[in-house]
């Protein structure tokens, strides 16, 4: 079902980092906004289940509506946004790695992204179930940006 959902998404851009707190979410949101301002059709998927920030950065606070083809991502400043935070705003989400992975895959399977030039995915920090699942989707047109800090820490 995920492959079908992403069929009309030309490119996936995974925004990664080796650790948290380096600015991944800000980079993801800024890049998505820049693409939208340049006239591209862009979506932003918040895959950082333990610390979702995309909804906050775009001031998106509504439960996604259901359309004929699936959940309709919120449209903010020309960017289509989907985040677990829209379903459980402000609630802690204590999940195992497997559970977090399941939530991300479920969101991808439920969301009707429509046609996109790029789907930016704000990834959780470091490596784990979510990163391994999304890089195993087996699709072409996947790029990655790694956000780093200029020090050994």
């Amino acid at each position: 079902m995920i492959k079908k959902r992403l069929k009309n998404v030309k490119r996936l851009l995974l925004v990664l980092s080796g650790k948290g707190g380096v600015g991944k979410s800000v980079v993801s949101a800024t890049f998505a906004a820049m693409l939208a301002n340049s006239g591209f059709k862009v979506g932003l998927m918040d895959a950082d289940i333990y610390g979702p920030s995309s909804a906050l950065l775009f001031a998106a606070h509504r439960l996604p509506a259901e359309g004929k083809e699936g959940l309709i991502p919120l449209s903010c400043d020309g960017v289509k946004i989907m985040s677990v935070d829209l379903f459980a705003p402000g609630k802690p989400i204590p999940l195992t790695g497997s559970g977090a992975r399941q939530v991300v895959l479920e969101l991808l399977a439920l969301t009707d992204w429509g046609e996109l030039d790029c789907l930016v995915v704000d990834m959780p920090p470091a490596t784990g179930d979510i990163m391994m699942s999304l890089t195993s989707l087996g699709r072409k047109g996947v790029a990655a940006v790694v956000v780093t800090m200029p020090d050994k820490l």
Binding site: M1, K4, L63, A65, E66, G67, K68, E69, G70, L71, V84, F87, A88, K91, P92, I93, P94, L95, T96, S98, G99, A100, Q102, V103, E106, L107, A109, L110
Partner: protein, 141 residues
Amino acid sequence: MAGELSRVHELSLVQGIIDAVEQTADKEGGSVKSFKIGVGELAQFDVRLVRQLLEDLKKGTSLEGAKVLVEPEASKIRCLSCGRHWDFQELAGPLSGDEREMIHFLPELLNSCTRCPSCSKSYFEIEGGRSVRVIEVVLDD
């Protein structure tokens, strides 16, 4: 059950099931004699509606002549802290309508809404009855 709008969710999910069963048949190089679907308790779907949607959506596809079996699947949740097994009905009572809706879409959000009835920890995982799944596909000989 989650509200009226969940029918759209059921429709989308059932279409996904039809696609998955057809793909299985294509991969195995056969035609489908019957297929069995489990409707997990946490999905909070109307089993009769899922059955009806499957019958409607398989028309005009390669599954049109296949027999469809739909059965409910009870939820099974295991606390990873104390080992206790429990089910959705044990804690369904105190959940608000919004919380049930959250769980309907994303069953793992059960962890945000409730705790283990034995040890009160939020460290548990869903072992069964999570969503709608294909249990079995039987091909023609």
